[in-house]
Amino acid sequence: MSKLGNLGARLHRGEISYDFVGKRKIWYGVSILITITAILGLAVRGLNMGIEFKGGAVFTTPTHMSASVTQAETYAKDASGHEAIVQKLGNGSLRIQIAGIDTGQSDKIKQELAKDLNLNPEKLAADLVGPSWGQQIANKAWEGLGIFMVLVVIYLAIAFEWRMAVAALVALIHDITITTGIYALVGFEVTPGTVIGLLTILGYSLYDTVVVFDSLKEQTKDITKQTRFTYSDIANMSINGTLVRSINTTVVALLPVAGLLFIGGGFLGAGTLNDISLSLFVGLAAGAYSSIFIATPLVADLKEREPAMKALTKRVLAKRAQASAEEDLAAERAVADDSADAAPAVVGPRNQPASRSRGRGRPSGKRR
């Protein structure tokens, strides 16, 4: 079986684990750093809004054009009186962008451009956008985002608890900030396609988080009836237990998106496919990161503030101190016994009866 399978088994048994919760401060720090960078990038560089948001026209010529990029640029500039951006796409067609013209004008420009390029105007694909259309799409998207966040917080608060809802929300905002920040820093063009991708991240980022929370909820159901683990311990186990699944999910989600990105970027050069898949790719990666490193540790943090959990932590720590003292004692005794096979024999029983006696000792534990 594959190595990952073994890894899964060992993670499941807790033979190996990474202390996500214990080292959360580091990851919080990393995230805060990235977020600050993202916000700075947004503030300083701003987003490179596409034609759809500024108003203007995008013309796409058929493949195999004889005209060169610079030629097309001149034509477009002459026809429109505005600066034009011309790209050569992967399939040999030209993409001509002219900003700042309204839809009335652009029709005339299209005719003229087609004449210059020696084309039938009907062969020239055109995307003419009024300046408020992109704004409208974006506004609606924000509106949708807001409504979704409220609904999902309510849902998570009911299905799980409010702390998890808060943590999921923080993780979500974290993902979106990072994604937009990367867009600002790298200077990718923002189009309605990007917005679509960004909105999909919502679902996906939460999807991942919810799976971890689900396992966490299950495992912490009777947490107060034992004194072995603090909430943070169990949270950590949940993350580790679902880690293989998280990795698999992320890989499986990223593979089709990678396919889209490859085709969208390589084959078509630009356009909706590329825009959607790019923001998805960035967002999915951020989402996988945040659900493991941010959301769950945050829940643990919030949960540990509860009085009941504080008490539990105290008890657990006390037990551990006692156990380690016992262990030292036992170790000394084992050494004293000087018996080769006595040590393992001691390790097993010593743990097991200890747990039972603990259960017996606590009245609440007796119920089950």
Binding site: M1, S2, G5, A9, H12, R13, G14, S17, T60, P62, S93, T103, D107, P121, E122, K123, L124, A125, A126, D127, L128, V129, S132, Q136, K140, A141, G144, I147, L151, L199, T200, G203, Y204, L206, Y207, V210, V211, D214, K221, Q226, R228, D233, G241, V244, R245, V252, A253, L255, P256, G259, L260, F262, I263, L268, G271, T272, L273, I276, S277, N351
Partner: protein
């Protein structure tokens, strides 16, 4: 130390919790895996059969994949409360008439959100013309009627009366019932009497020729020519007239296809033929050049006439130049006999009303009365005052996609999907070995269902597959595959706990089921919110995502789980063959551990085999 102890503690908790609710539910679900499989198989066969029966074997493609023009219009914001559903629907109606008047019947016009209208025109149409057609507000003309008769059905008599030789039928009762009567405030010359006389003639029938009672009346008096009476006579050359004549004779307005051909392309300055539906009967008309433009109507409103007996009527006020033109034309028309004393109110090439005139109406105010219902009067007033559209619109975006580009995008989308799917399948095979067969079969079922439902939704709700929707479907591969991963990982966990496959499959299900439901719900919630709130491309994407999420749940419940149950009985999987993906050894199962640790072990042993 703590970790090992954890293993001791955790399984106990899990076991007791899961076992309690599980017995009733999964025992029944699991005992009849064949039933679920049969159910989904029947569903697939039924849906596929439906698809072939309805003849829609491919999903309808959106403009960006099939080529064509898509125009987005937004109602201008300054119209306040006028932006409501009724007005939007009227606008959609009118635009639909316009674009389909171009001869393309597949054009579709739909509202989106509260104040947007999307017009999709498939390729093969002159996009520029279409754009102009949709964008303009006023396409309303007042044209003098040169001839008219009910069209289609029994009235076959060809009308020899062409525009130059305007024939007149002397029978006044055949005139359109709605009458224009003057009611001038400025000039004292006009009195209320025309109103009275108008109503006496036209009250019984609304804006309709009494088709049933007088069969083909207007055609009877053929040949009696009075060229001077018709304003168009001088302008129209003999050849045009003859052509028009022939067209008029051949025209059958009861056929939508023929209606689509007439009127739309008529130039205001030339005579034309047109159709009009009045009281559910189609009439055809020969109309003179436009005498007054719709834009010259300053205001029109529906009012209820409390003094006269004319009931609901439409009052209109013309602009200065319009008033003069209207006075001229009504002066001329009043001299003529029916139907040449009528003028047609032509909206987008279609006659919406043809009131007759009794005297010149000067002063710029007129009213049209007949026995209108309130609704009729209001809609006519709407048409008159807004030209055509009850709202004025602004072009938001115009996207023209050539057929070549559309095909290329479709190709690229499909290719991306194929690559994505291949990568996912490859990963699943490498990681899950034999189990990936289950995943692949489930993905296949999911794909078939998605395809068939998309094909069926095309005609059913006008769903069109566009590029973002393709993207949504590709992204959904991940979501669907994830459900399998959740389930498989749970099964593997159970095997690691030391169970044999059959109980593991059953035991893993309730927990995987909950996780799948919860996470799919979140995904569906996102899709639903996006679908309701957003516009344009985002909506198409959200729809596909939502659809595939729902299908994912259906497939996992009705296909993957039952299939897993069945396969668990096969030796290949049950024995944990090396290639089955369920080899306990390579999964690192440690069965002996639990015997000693768990007192409940024997109890579990007795339950599991029975269930499996």
């Amino acid at each position: 130390m703590a970790d090992r102890a954890d293993r001791a503690g955790r399984p106990e908790r899990e076991y007791e919790k899961v076992a309690a609710p599980k017995r009733g539910r999964s025992a029944s679900a699991q005992s009849k895996p064949g039933r679920s499989l049969a159910l989904i198989l029947i569903a697939i066969v039924a849906l596929t059969g439906g698809m072939f029966l309805s003849g829609n074997t491919t999903p309808r493609l959106g403009i960006d994949l099939a080529g064509g023009t898509s125009i987005t219009l937004k109602a201008k914001a300054d119209q306040g409360s006028a932006i409501n559903k009724a007005n939007m629907d009227t606008a959609v109606d009118i635009m639909n008439r316009r674009v389909n008047g171009l001869g393309v019947s597949e054009a579709e016009v739909q509202t989106q959100g509260t104040d947007n209208i999307i017009v999709n025109i498939p390729r093969g149409t002159n996009s520029k013309e279409a754009q102009q057609q949709v964008g303009t507000t006023a396409k309303l003309y007042f044209r003098p009627v040169l001839a008219s008769e009910p069209s289609g059905g029994s009235t076959q008599s060809p009308s020899p009366s062409a525009s130059p030789s305007g024939s007149s039928s002397p029978n006044p009762s055949t005139s359109p019932s709605s009458s224009a009567s003057s009611k001038q405030k400025a000039s004292s010359s006009s009195t209320a009497s025309p109103t009275a006389s108008a109503t006496s003639q036209g009250r019984a029938v609304t804006d309709a020729l009494k088709a049933g009672s007088t069969p083909s009346p207007s055609t009877s008096a053929s040949g009696s020519s009075k060229p001077s009476a018709t304003p168009s006579a001088s302008s129209s050359a003999a050849t045009t007239a003859a052509k028009l004549q022939a067209q008029y004779a051949a025209l059958d307005c009861s056929k939508p296809a023929e209606r689509a051909k007439v009127g739309g392309a008529a130039k205001p300055g030339e005579p034309t033929i047109a159709c009009g539906q009045i009281r559910k009967v189609w009439y055809k008309y020969v109309l003179g050049p436009a005498a007054v433009d719709g834009t010259e109507v300053k205001k029109a409103q529906a009012v209820f006439d409390t003094q006269g007996a004319s009931g609901w009527q439409v009052q209109m006020t013309f602009s200065n130049s319009g008033a003069k033109k209207f006075a001229d034309i009504t002066g001329q028309l009043a001299k003529n006999q029916s139907p040449q004393n009528e003028f047609g109110i032509v909206l987008d090439g279609e006659v919406v009303s043809s009131p007759f005139v009794q005297q010149a109406i000067t002063g710029g105010q007129a009213e049209i009365s007949g026995s209108f219902t309130q609704q009729d009067a209001q809609s006519l007033a709407n048409m008159l005052s807004y030209g055509a559209l009850p709202l004025s619109f602004q072009e938001q975006s115009v996207t023209t996609v050539t057929a070549a580009l559309g095909g290329e995008q479709l190709h690229a989308g499909l290719l991306a999907g194929a690559i994505g799917l291949a990568l996912v399948v490859l990963y699943l095979v490498v990681y899950y070995r034999g189990l990936s067969l289950v995943a692949m079969a489930s993905l296949l079922v999911s794909a078939i269902l998605t395809y068939v439902i998309m094909s069926l939704l095309g005609p059913a709700i006008g769903f069109a597959l566009n590029l973002p929707a393709v993207c949504g479907a590709i992204v959904a591969i991940g979501i669907t595959a994830d459900s399998f991963i959740v389930y498989f990982e749970r099964i593997r966990d159970e095997i690691r706990e030391g169970r044999s496959l059959r109980p593991a499959v059953e035991r893993a299900w309730p927990r995987a089921r909950r996780t799948i439901l919860v996470s799919d719900f979140v995904s569906f919630l996102a899709a639903a919110v996006l679908f309701i709130v957003t516009v344009g491309k985002v909506q198409g994407f959200a729809f596909t995502l939502g659809l595939t999420t729902v299908l994912d749940v259906v497939v996992v419940f009705l296909f993957t789980k039952p299939l897993m149950t069945l396969l668990a009985r096969r030796k290949f999987f049950a024995s944990g063959h090396k290639w089955s993906g369920l080899d306990p050894k390579s999964l690192g199962a440690k069965p002996p551990l639990r015997r000693t640790r768990r007192p409940a072990g024997p109890a579990a042993g007795s339950v599991d085999p029975k269930e499996a």
